[in-house]
Structures are given as structure tokens and as C-alpha cells.
């Protein structure tokens, strides 16, 4: 690791916005650009700047069921943000750089497996696209994703909820007080991946003390136990004390110290909308922490006039949650899965998903094959209401990258049956991650599209 550089892709998308006054607009990374460039960080020998690349439609389809198709949900900016993240992943695995920071817009951690529109400013989950890409291209298996955004990383959680080889940890402001309203300690992953999802809701107003208490006592020990091949930090910056959307009191210094401790392979920018008072300082100090450069002189201009005090009752509440989660983690392999989730051939649950940006209501019925020899395939029936009686219904089949042959065959049967039946839905889609093949069938046009990724090693 020594001697290698930290790679950075800075893609501010100065020509892309959700709407002119939306928090996710052109200006968002302008001051970050000014600060990092004026500081001359890109000239330092510890840092190498890379250009972004475009992800392909197939890279997206490998992860998301976009309705009706990928092209209708992504813009070029999304392909670049995802592509930039993949490109840094390439350079890290190939040993060119020791770690990386993908400072890109638009963000992605609220995007779930099925995409009917934009929710929480996200369409495409950049981290999930990276994970499936690394698995396909390099055979990377175990991944840890730590989400330090003020909002629960519900998209990432949903995508990996049944994946035993992804440890997803999210700490965030309590869902009862902020979008998306989820991320409670009892959300622990499905029957095939119990305790691979860990949520620590934090009461509003907590400071760096809590941030580092959680990092030291929960995040780091869990990662240590899990022994991932690759660590990703979803580096949202809206826990900052000046953020207009969040109510937390973390500082740039707190973020940098956390980055140094976690030592992720890749940090990916997520939210953070204090574009003047927080982003320039947090982005700069995360980058410096990754590159092993002293960041003690990076300070918010008003930091001296701020005195943050931790509320002892709320801190005790966090301590209790952490202890409970540590207990669950230590007993994760002895847990009585049947007692928690029930038994049978499938585990199933109903979900209601709200797309805040696009005002879409989605009803989802999700089934996971409880297979003894692999994580099992998934069946999803989804129906989205776009208002005015306009609906879109999709039946989707997802085969994990390490599926057994029986699961693969059964899953193909489900897909073919749905295509042949030609009713109950408008679209049938399948992602077979074991062979890197994606199929999409449009019932009204009676037409199928198929895409295949390059063979591994090509």
C-alpha cells in the first residue's frame, strides 16, 4: 500500500440539476472545486486525478430493474457518476492506487433495486453498481458498505438485504425525524443474510463524540470480524452542523478522523447540501485523510464560535442501541432463523415505497427462495402509481452471482412462465448475475431485449 497514491475523480456535473433551485443542482460542488483547486491538492504527489468514464446500460441493468427500461431512468450524468465510481474501483483492484474518492453527482444511496423514478435525489445506486461490477469482473466477493449520510441508506440496504456477503452499516438521524423514515435497529437483513444489515438511528443534535463512539465501538469491530475484500464508504456529508436538511452536529474534523479510522478502499460522495459552509471543508479533509495528509488545519470558518455539547440522555440511548447490536452481531450465526422469519420454500414480504422527488407510490411483493446451498433467487412483483391512474407493473427475477444450478433453473422457469402468461404485468425482467445476462420483456409490444456483459477477464 505504501507509496501508492489516492485516486480521485471529481465530477461536479456543472451542467446537470434536478431543477434550478433544487438542493441537487449545478452549484452544489462549485465551492468544493474552488477549495480543492486553490489548495493545489491535485498537484500533490500523494494524489492522482482521473477522468470519469461512462457506465454502460448493462452495468446498470445488472443491478436495477428500471421501469420500463434503463434508458428511461438514467441521464448521461448518472452513467458518468456510476462510471467514475467503477473506474476508481478498477484502479484500486489493479493496484494502481491505494484508495479513492469519487466526488460525483448525482448521488445514489436511496435508489433501490426496482427503479420507477427518482427518490431522495437518486435514480441509480452508484455503490451497488460498483459492487456487482467488481464481483463480475474481478471475482470480489465480500464487501462492506458503511453509510455515513444523515439519511438512512435505504436503497443500498434494500439491494443487499438478502446478500450474506455484503455487510451494510448505516448510522443516521433517527428515521422518525427525517427522510426516508426507515433505518431502525430492528432492520437486520433477511433470513439468508441475518445481521448483515446494521442500522444505528441517532437522535437529532448528536456531535462528533457520538459519531466516534459508534465508529470505535460498533463499525470498526464489525468490519474487523467480517473481513471484507473491499470497503466502501457512502460519504454523505449532511451530518454537518450547518446542513439545511439534517439536524446533526458533526464537523469536518469528525468526518476526516472517521475516514482515517475506517480506511475505506473507496469513498463515494452521497448527500450534503451545506454547499458553502460544509462541503468544501469536508470533501477536502476526507480526501486528505485518504491520502494520509495532515488535515488538522482544515477548519470551518466559524468553528471557534461553536460549542457543541452532547445530551447525556440521548448519548446513553445510543450506547444502549450499540450494545444491543453488538449482542445480535456476536450471536448472528446461532440465531434461530426459522423462529424470526418463519419456514417454507420462500420468505416473503410486502413493501410500500414512496418516491419523494417524483411523487410515485410503489407497492412491492418480494419473495426470496430459501435455498440451503446459495443465497437464493428473488421474485419481485411491483406496481407503481404515478398519479392520474397511470400505473406500471413489473415482474422481476434476480439470480445472485453465486446461485446454485437449481435456483438458476427455477428462476428461468419463473421468467418464462411470466412471459408466456402475458398478464398480470406490463413488463417482465430478469437479471442473472451468475452468467451476467439481463432480459427484459415488454408485454404490450411482445418483444424481448437481452444484454450480456463482457466475459470475465476481457
Amino acid at each position: 500500500m505504501k507509496g501508492k497514491k489516492t485516486g480521485v475523480i471529481f465530477f461536479p456535473a456543472f451542467d446537470w440539476a434536478i431543477s434550478p433551485t433544487h438542493p441537487e443542482r449545478e452549484e452544489r460542488l462549485l465551492y468544493t472545486r474552488d477549495q480543492i483547486f486553490e489548495e493545489g491538492l491535485m498537484d500533490l504527489p500523494q494524489i492522482a486525478e482521473y477522468p470519469p468514464k461512462l457506465a454502460t446500460i448493462h452495468d446498470i441493468a445488472r443491478v436495477h430493474f428500471c421501469v420500463p427500461r434503463v434508458q428511461s431512468q438514467v441521464t448521461e450524468a448518472h452513467l458518468i457518476a456510476a462510471g467514475a465510481t467503477m473506474s476508481l474501483g478498477d484502479s484500486i483492484i489493479q493496484g494502481e492506487i491505494k484508495n479513492g474518492f469519487s466526488i460525483v453527482r448525482p448521488p445514489g444511496h436511496h435508489a433501490m433495486r426496482v427503479v420507477h423514478g427518482n427518490r431522495g435525489f437518486c435514480n441509480i445506486n452508484n455503490e451497488a453498481v460498483l459492487v456487482d461490477y467488481l464481483r463480475r469482473r474481478y471475482g470480489i466477493c465480500r464487501v462492506a458498505i458503511v453509510d455515513s449520510d444523515v439519511h438512512h441508506g435505504d436503497g443500498t440496504q434494500e439491494i443487499f438485504y438478502h446478500d450474506p456477503d455484503v455487510l451494510f452499516i448505516s448510522f443516521h438521524q433517527d428515521g422518525r425525524t427525517i427522510f426516508p423514515g426507515t433505518g431502525f435497529a430492528h432492520e437486520l437483513g433477511g433470513p439468508q443474510a441475518y445481521a448483515r444489515t446494521i442500522n444505528i438511528p441517532l437522535p437529532p443534535g448528536m456531535t462528533d463524540t457520538t459519531f466516534h463512539y459508534v465508529a470505535d465501538n460498533l463499525v470498526l469491530p464489525l468490519i474487523n470480524d467480517f473481513k471484507p475484500d473491499f470497503i466502501i464508504n457512502s460519504a454523505g456529508q449532511d451530518n454537518h452542523y450547518t446542513d439545511p436538511l439534517g439536524s446533526m452536529k458533526f464537523t469536518a474534523r469528525g468526518y476526516a478522523d472517521f475516514t482515517r479510522k475506517l480506511n475505506p478502499h473507496l469513498a463515494v460522495l452521497e448527500g450534503g447540501y451545506a454547499i458553502e459552509t460544509a462541503l468544501p471543508y469536508i470533501n477536502m479533509s476526507i480526501l486528505m485523510a485518504l491520502a494520509g495528509i495532515d488535515y488538522s488545519k482544515v477548519r470551518e470558518p466559524d468553528i471557534d464560535s461553536c460549542s457543541f455539547k452532547e445530551n447525556p440522555d440521548r448519548f446513553a440511548q445510543v450506547q444502549k442501541t450499540v450494545e444491543e447490536l453488538l449482542d445480535i452481531w456476536s450471536r448472528r450465526d446461532k440465531a434461530d432463523i426459522e423462529k424470526i422469519f418463519g419456514s417454507g420454500k420462500f420468505y416473503q414480504r410486502k413493501k410500500h415505497i414512496y418516491y419523494d422527488t417524483d411523487y410515485i407510490e410503489e407497492e412491492q411483493f418480494e419473495k426470496v427462495r430459501l435455498c440451503g446451498s446459495c443465497p437464493g433467487y428473488m421474485l419481485i412483483e411491483s406496481r407503481a402509481d404515478r398519479g392520474y391512474g397511470e400505473t406500471a407493473r413489473v415482474f422481476a427475477v434476480s439470480i445472485p452471482f453465486n446461485a446454485c444450478q437449481d435456483c438458476q433453473m427455477e428462476a428461468y422457469n419463473w421468467y418464462e412462465e411470466a412471459v408466456n402468461k402475458k398478464k398480470g404485468c406490463d413488463f417482465v425482467q430478469m437479471q442473472d448475475k451468475s452468467t451476467d445476462t439481463c432480459l427484459s420483456f415488454d408485454i404490450s409490444k411482445n418483444q424481448e431485449w437481452k444484454s450480456e456483459g463482457p466475459r470475465p477477464g476481457v
Binding site: 465530477f11 449545478e26 452549484e27 483547486f37 493545489g40 498537484d43 477522468p51 470519469p52 448521461e76 488545519k297
Partner: protein
């Protein structure tokens, strides 16, 4: 008629151009007595031409480059205002550096006022060490120059004879460490450069040449010699820029070409993409110091006709050093030039000696003379073509910050290899064949640099940034900062204001009749939204006169605009 003059360390080249035709040219040694060398060059090209027919003189020179390389300048003290960010230990320059408090942020707002006590003690420290030249540079000073100006004023209150240089006047672009370096070098070379400029003006004066005189900048633009006196650092690398423009003028328009300047110890590579020389994306690296000087992209490869070739074990190795002339010219060691001689690719040198050189290398390997020569050729070829490929790849790897920039990136490869410089002709056919290109050695290749100077188009640029929330605008090149008067201000008004300043600048430099068309090279508007309502706009626009050349040589004097 135009005169192009290239003052190099060894030779001074001059050409006289009449429209697109080279009327005369010369190459004279550059002597200690600069004035007389210049006079000799003028007299040789001006034979029989009355001085009043000369409409313009353009210079290029490696003078400043050499001064910096040899560190032949007076020490410059630094007063820096870095504010928060990197540790101060990162700002390590090879001179006394005083750090002063006071903070300006990215929008030019004063966060911490200038502590007067710090400033005075810094000035006392530098005075105690006998510094008479000082560079004052602040972080974000191009967004607000208040602190730099205040430091400067306090210095001049006590030391009127000090030469003080301020960062915002030298380099307006973002990047504080580079601004420090540019300002320091500018301060260091100012008086020596003045001496050079005066010698040139004296030489022209004594031959009654009274037309405007310009100097070529590293980016291929030009500026009037008089105004260049305050920014000598911009003229660094004007020599290589001149030779690139020269080649551009000597090859057919619209070509994508690699320029190969193979000298004794180094080979300089440059690119012309679709007829335009490639500009480096970042400021020039001046002997390991990164600056803000905008320059054409030039890559130096440490291999040339005099590089040493050695036999180590069972392998031939090309070293990056020179120990003397080639063996066939009486030197001590075998070189690529000896290989050229053996293969009949150069007229230089003694054939017997060249054969001997190949035998020395071939003996331990048990191979024939011609095979040794062929292997050496292959090594030179592989090194140079490898670097050319790298250069194209690096260009493709440049960062992009907008969606459209990423989408329009494409793969470009050259179709021509152009050779200039002594050893180019021998290696060209093989290099061109490897790259699947046409080899080309243009006429007048020996004086391509002087031709490049002569055909360079005078250029000017103005970059304006307006912050309507704060009601101020700044001009990067002028170091000017003032209030926005025409409210409500918008993008169109910003463009018109920038063009007005461009004309003002043109007039100041005596270029108002030479402006040609004005290009808008950047226009960006960011809405500033605070508390969910638009509170102002940040407008960034850049306008410039077209860079490039006025004539192609050998096209019958065709003016490019027609």
C-alpha cells in the same frame, strides 16, 4: 514584412517574412554581447530591405528559462497568507518564507482580518536578512486582493526601494502553491528580463526599425515587449512554443501531427491536433516547480543523437546521458548517431570510426556491425514511439467536469510525424512507419522557431467573474476587482463587459487593429440559492482573440482569414 527572432542559448535565428514567403533567414551564434549578436542577425536578413517596410517584429527566447535553470537571479523573500487548509509545512520554498494570518474564502469574503502585527514582523524579518525583492501571495487573493494590497502598502511605507510582486497580479487562476511559484519567479527575473528587452529595443533602434515589437508567450500567444516587462515569467518556454507554431505554419492546414525535435541529448515532443497546437491542461512545470504559466504541451524525452549506448551483459542499453560528441565525430563512446552513420542515414562523421563504435558493442554479443546499428535504431525508436503513445493517452485521460465534456472525448491518432532538429531526419522514417504515419521534414526546419515567432498572431484574453449577490466582479488577467454597476446584471451583460475590457486591453497593448474575431471560450452561470430562494448568480465568462498563426508558409502567401 515581419521579422521573427529566436534568441537561444547557443544560436540566434532570424527570418524575414513577406506574406507567406521566407525572404531571407540566418543563424548566428549568441554571444555574451547580446546587442552585437542581434545586430549581426538583423543585418544579414535585412540586406537591401528598407527598415520602414517592417511592420512587426516578434521575439522568442530561452533567456528566462536558462536564468531559472541556472538559478542566476537574486533571492526573493516570501510573505504568504495561506489561511486554513494544508499544513504550513507544505509551503516549503527555497527561500525565507514568512506566514501571515488573515483569511479570505472561496467567494472572496474576508473571514479573518489581516493581523497588522504579523505583517510588520514579517517585513522586519525579511529586512533583517537583506531581502530587497518580496513576493506577497494570499490564498484566494484572485477573489479578493485586499490583504495582498495591504501588505504591499505597509512594505512600501518603510522600504520604498523594494521590488514587491503581488500574487493576484501575476496569476489569477485557482491554485495557491502555483500562484506562489509564478509570483516568485516573476519577481526574480524581472530586472534581468528588462535588460534583455532593452538590448533588443536598442538593436532595433540603431537599425531604424520602429514598428511594434512583441514577444511570444509559452502558450503561443504574443504580448507587446513593453508590457511583457511586468510579466517575464509568461515568456518562459517561448522557444519551444515558437518552434511548434513554426511547424504549424510549415505543414498543411488541419493536420494531426506529432512534432519531433531530436537534439543531442533530448527529444522534445509536441502535438498538433486538427491543425491546432495542444495546450497543456495545467500550468508549466519549470524545472520541478509547478507554475500557472499557460504553455503548449511539450514532453521532453531524455534520448538524442549523442546519448551513450553501452553493452551490459548480453544486452545493449541506451543511457540518458551525454559524455561527449558521437564516436564518429571524435567522441569517447558509441551513440545512436554512429548507428545512423553505419546505416547510411546521416552525412555527419567518419564512417570508419562509426564502424569501430559498432564493433566495440557487437564483440561481446557476437553480432555483426549492421545488426548492432539496427538494434540501436530499434531502441531509440521504441523509446520515442512509446512516449508519443503515452502523450496521446495522457491527453485522453484529462479530467472533465461537465457531462458534454465526457461525451465528446474521442480517440485521436496522428497521421503525420514532423521532424525538426539535427538528428531528426535519420530516425524519422522508422518512427513514422511504427506509428503508421507519413514522415515529413518541412523546408526551413532549421529555423522553424524564428518562423513560428514571425507568424504568431497577437492574442489577448479577458476572464471575468461576477458575484451578483456580493455585487462585485473581478478580472483575472488584470487583477482588477470592482463593483457591478449595471444592475440587474446577467450573462449577456457579463459578456459585453468582458468584451469591453478586451478592447481596453487591446488598446493598452496597441493591438486594437489586430484583434480579429473574438471567441467566447467559457460561459458559466451558477444560481446561488440560499434558504430555497435564488439569492444571486455567479457568472464566469472568458473571451479571447483567436490564438494561432497568421500565415502558412509556402501556400503562396495566403492569409488564413481569407
Amino acid at each position: 514584412m515581419y521579422i521573427g527572432l529566436d534568441v537561444g542559448g547557443t544560436y540566434t535565428d532570424a527570418v524575414l517574412l513577406e506574406k507567406g514567403r521566407v525572404k531571407s533567414w540566418t543563424k548566428v551564434p549568441t554571444r555574451e554581447d547580446l546587442l552585437n549578436s542581434l545586430l549581426e542577425a538583423f543585418d544579414k536578413i535585412m540586406r537591401g530591405v528598407p527598415a520602414d517596410l517592417i511592420k512587426r517584429v516578434v521575439l522568442s527566447t530561452t533567456m528566462i528559462t536558462n536564468l531559472i535553470a541556472e538559478k542566476k537571479y537574486d533571492p526573493v523573500g516570501l510573505i504568504l497568507l495561506p489561511g486554513p487548509g494544508l499544513e504550513n509545512s507544505h509551503y516549503r520554498f527555497d527561500t525565507k518564507t514568512c506566514i501571515v494570518g488573515g483569511v479570505i474564502d472561496y467567494r472572496g469574503r474576508e473571514v479573518v482580518p489581516l493581523p497588522e502585527g504579523d505583517v510588520d514582523s514579517a517585513i522586519r524579518t525579511l529586512a533583517g536578512l537583506n531581502y530587497k525583492k518580496v513576493a506577497v501571495v494570499g490564498k484566494f487573493s484572485s477573489r479578493n486582493n485586499k490583504h495582498e494590497k495591504e501588505v504591499c502598502r505597509r512594505i512600501q511605507e518603510s522600504y520604498i526601494d523594494w521590488q514587491v510582486e503581488m500574487g493576484h497580479e501575476v496569476a489569477g487562476q485557482l491554485n495557491f502553491p502555483r500562484r506562489v511559484m509564478s509570483t516568485l519567479l516573476n519577481c526574480a527575473t524581472r530586472d534581468k528580463y528588462q535588460f534583455f528587452a532593452q538590448s533588443v529595443l536598442a538593436a532595433l533602434n540603431s537599425r531604424d526599425i520602429s514598428c511594434p515589437v512583441y514577444i511570444l508567450k509559452a502558450d503561443g500567444g504574443t504580448m507587446p515587449l513593453n508590457t511583457s516587462l511586468s510579466s517575464p515569467v509568461e515568456t518562459i518556454f517561448s522557444g519551444p512554443a515558437a518552434s511548434i507554431l513554426g511547424v504549424q505554419a510549415l505543414i498543411p492546414p488541419g493536420e494531426t501531427a506529432v512534432i519531433l525535435d531530436i537534439g543531442g541529448t533530448t527529444t522534445d515532443l509536441a502535438l498538433i491536433l486538427g491543425g491546432q497546437p495542444l495546450l497543456a491542461s495545467k500550468g508549466a512545470d519549470v524545472f520541478g516547480h509547478m507554475t500557472h504559466v499557460s504553455a503548449l504541451a511539450v514532453k521532453s524525452v531524455p534520448v538524442g543523437g549523442d546519448s551513450v549506448v553501452e553493452c551490459v551483459g548480453k544486452e545493449l542499453i541506451l543511457l540518458s546521458e551525454r559524455v561527449g560528441p558521437p564516436y564518429c565525430l571524435g567522441g569517447p563512446m558509441p551513440t545512436p548517431t554512429d548507428a545512423l552513420k553505419v546505416l547510411g542515414l546521416t552525412k555527419l562523421g567518419n564512417m570508419k570510426k562509426a564502424n569501430e563504435a559498432m564493433k566495440i558493442l557487437g564483440k561481446p554479443l557476437g553480432i555483426e556491425t549492421w545488426e548492432v546499428a539496427a538494434r540501436i535504431m530499434m531502441m531509440v525508436n521504441d523509446t520515442i514511439t512509446g512516449e508519443i503513445k503515452n502523450m496521446f493517452e495522457k491527453w485522453e485521460q484529462e479530467p472533465a467536469y461537465r457531462v458534454w465534456e465526457v461525451l465528446q472525448k474521442k480517440r485521436v491518432r496522428p497521421n503525420t510525424v514532423v521532424g525538426v532538429g539535427g538528428a531528426a531526419s535519420g530516425f524519422m522514417p522508422m518512427i513514422a512507419a511504427t506509428l503508421d504515419c507519413r514522415p515529413l521534414i518541412p523546408p526551413y526546419a532549421q529555423v522553424a522557431n524564428a518562423i513560428g515567432a514571425a507568424v504568431a498572431r497577437p492574442t489577448l484574453q479577458v476572464s471575468l467573474r461576477a458575484d451578483t449577490e456580493q455585487g462585485i466582479y473581478t478580472l483575472l488577467e488584470e487583477g482588477y476587482q470592482g463593483p457591478i454597476e449595471d444592475k440587474p446584471f446577467n450573462e449577456e451583460k457579463a459578456l459585453r463587459l468582458a468584451e469591453k475590457w478586451l478592447h481596453k486591453r487591446a488598446k493598452k497593448y496597441g493591438l486594437e487593429n489586430d484583434m480579429g474575431e473574438v471567441e467566447v471560450t467559457r460561459r458559466e452561470v451558477f444560481n446561488m440559492v440560499r434558504d430555497w430562494v435564488t439569492s444571486g448568480k455567479l457568472i464566469d465568462v472568458s473571451v479571447q482573440t483567436k490564438r494561432g498563426i497568421l500565415h502558412y508558409i509556402g501556400t503562396g502567401g495566403g492569409n488564413i482569414e481569407r
